[in-house]
Symmetry: C2
Subunit: 448 residues, 2 copies
């Protein structure tokens, strides 16, 4: 008898297992494939490894202005993939170690949840006082005629590719689509992105999404375009009422992800729109059954899943904790990075909130200019007009993905304009743009 | 008649001028050389530009493992210097614009402060209701026999160098000495660093300072070594009671900086140990005369000077503000970066504080490993054992210099261990090491 059985060893499940093990709970973690889940094995981590290789390649090509000339720069997909796989394997090993260190039992195999909360794996059945479902998600393939074509692939397939294709069509201009478009176009692949909405990256501030798109000059973007069918290696889509098409070696479908529900479909867990319904303590409708991560559809990000795992474990342990969604950062690791946390200007206005907005061009920051010249870059801060509380911080450019952690601290802590003005950021650093953007907020007073 | 006259247009003076101008004050800024001061023209900014060039050169040389091969890579000091000068000139132009935009009058020339607080520049005398002295500092040349040798140079000279020297001896293993040692050794110059203390970088956690030193494998470090004399191109020093010497093309002296006091030496301003004495509102002993930045010797960093400028301006405007020194970050931009904010473990123990320490190896972070493999990297968190308040955050490795801004928010806001555990950092990002290091703190309880 376990204290906690956890179904799924991704960033939700393995973090929950570690935290619970650390508390002294007896924990079983069931994983059908490999610890680390999609994020580590087929998602965020390998993508970032390859994108780093692409960025190093661009450095090699484009550093002459900074005093570095290079002859004969070449990108080897084979080597980049080999390194990526080393990264994945090393990190999976790290999680295995973490599980041992915290006394977590791990069973490899496909789990099936029964109505009483027990979980079968093969011939064995395991029971815990509590069950945490962290079964994750899979790429959603839309019901487009021809989607079964052999040229249609998912992000997972692309991460195993052995040879660079000549051309790639990406259906879907969200985070996954844009990162792969950036990666492959950087190393010479002809890339077309087809997006149904009028702009890519719908979670972003419109203006900033446009900056990212504009930075990918080599990519052919087809916005407001609805894919109608696929025939072999050709995608047909409707743009401005006209049918058009594009041919390519591969077609990446990246239009969203669906919850993995197979393992618990007969257990009586309440669902909504295809995802498990949970409250702010990650409780499902059934007593002692919790769900965390992508399967809840609440915030399909690895770090959200990890935090949900902590909330579930704390709840099981009788500690007060709740999941909050207002200060979850996201980051886009395209060669021009972007990141955000909290409300965008657009979203705040849609909510009818009274806000102040501060903007700062990164090229006015000395470190940014030294390292990127006049490249695109912007920081935008959204604050509540009445209280001065910072509601949103958004970046395009530089190491946005590393600045956003500090921004999450600000939003989670509900810091105010005046408090940020008194924070001392190091000079010269890109992080100064946060303070500089805050200083651009005109609160209508002579506040220094 | 001005509201405020400011002597010195560095990061103390120009920020004070901008903030005051923005408030509607009538401001005069006196600068003897060029807006931006030492930091922008001869210090932090040009150094960081050159260090970025060096880092790009190392990328070009060492990216094969990540999939990028080059036939040959060359570092051109001429081009790197040209870009650096472009950066400096562009940023100086930005400050000039900022001054105009905020209605600040700028007078170029050497100012002399009189006992009544007026300032003469050439034949003109200017008077303000308040005076802010922001005259900065200059390299300190120790009274070592032979220091007048033509091979002895300062950081300022090095930043104007037209040809790479074959060899360089650096006297002083502080931030300036280490950054230049890193820069020049990275591009093939034979570098020796002579440091009087037993370890370089005395403001750092000892173990982390050692990591930085160890990363600079090509540099010959002579620790616990006291320079006794210089003869032409040879530095003599005593190490373990024995006289030794090293010969090099140039000798960089970087043992500290002294306040620039010439301009106000007859004004009756109270001094202590060679620096202007100020209170926490930046007031000197004389009514309506303030001092900020390096000339106070309080925290000789550009960002400290800027914040001091804001405190002085707020004080003049009758707003409550005070300078705090506990949350000032520093960053070291050597090819292995390091940064810190708040108390080190060593310092906390010396103060006799009861603390918890959390450490996290960066190579266990997936983004770090993807981008740097098993390179050196560590995050160390120091927290008060009783309250859980975070007192210090220190990094070696990766983009430490950009992570430390977020750390400064934590320390300035006096956040606690439990609060950081609830912050969601993006995955995979290096910024996660802060949360991971916090989780390593054993508070003696089963806290998840």
């Amino acid at each position: 008898m376990y204290d906690i059985v956890i179904l799924g060893g991704g960033p939700g499940g393995y973090v929950a297992a570690e935290r619970a093990g650390r508390m002294g709970k007896k924990v079983l973690l069931v994983e059908k494939e490999r610890l680390g889940g999609v994020c580590l094995n087929h998602g965020c981590v390998p993508t970032k490894s390859l994108l780093n290789s692409a960025k190093l390649y661009l450095h090699a090509l484009n550093s002459e202005n900074y005093g570095v000339t290079v002859q004969g720069a070449e990108f080897s997909l084979e080597k980049a993939m080999k390194w990526k796989q080393n990264v994945v394997n090393t990190m999976v090993g790290g999680i295995e170690f973490l599980m041992k260190e915290n006394g977590v039992d791990v069973v490899m195999g496909e789990g099936t949840v029964h109505a009483d909360g027990s979980v079968s794996v093969g011939n064995e059945t395991y029971k815990g006082n509590s069950l945490i479902i962290a079964s994750g998600s899979s790429p959603f393939l839309p019901p487009v005629p021809g989607i079964e074509s052999s040229t249609v692939i998912t992000s997972r397939d692309l991460l195993q590719m052995e040879k660079l294709p000549g051309s790639l069509t990406v259906i879907g201009g969200g985070v996954i689509g844009m990162e792969f478009a950036s990666l492959f176009s950087s190393v010479g692949v002809t890339v077309t992105v087809i997006e149904m909405l009028e702009e890519v990256l719908p979670m972003m501030d419109k203006r900033m999404a446009k900056m990212v798109r504009a930075s990918m000059e080599e990519v052919d973007f087809r916005l407001s375009s609805r894919v109608t069918r696929i025939k072999n290696d050709r995608v047909f889509f409707e743009q401005n009422g006209k049918e058009q098409s594009v041919q390519s070696d591969y077609i990446l479908v990246a239009v969203g992800r669906k919850a993995n529900v197979e393992s618990f479909k007969n257990a009586g867990i309440a669902m909504g729109r295809g995802f498990v319904m949970v409250d702010e303590r990650m409780r499902t409708n059934l007593p002692n059954i919790y769900a965390i991560g992508d399967v809840t559809g609440k915030s399909m990000l690895a770090h959200s899943a990890s935090r949900m795992g902590e909330v579930a474990v704390n709840t099981i342990a009788g500690k007060k904790d709740r999941m909050r969604y207002n200060a979850i950062p996201w980051a886009l690791y395209t060669t021009l990075e972007a990141a955000g946390c909290g409300l965008t200007e657009d979203a705040a206005k849609k909510e009818g909130r009274s806000i102040h907005v501060g903007k700062y061009q990164m090229k006015n920051n000395s470190r940014f200019y030294a390292e990127h010249g006049k490249a695109a870059g912007l920081c935008k801060i959204v604050a509540d007009a009445d209280t001065g509380v910072i509601l949103g911080i958004h970046f395009v450019g530089g190491v946005s993905s590393e600045l956003i952690g500090g921004a999450a601290v600000i939003i989670e802590s509900e810091l105010r304009i005046q408090e940020i003005k008194e924070v001392i950021y190091p000079h010269p650093s890109l992080s100064e743009v946060i303070r500089d953007a805050v200083w651009q907020i005109n609160q209508g007073g002579n506040d220094a």
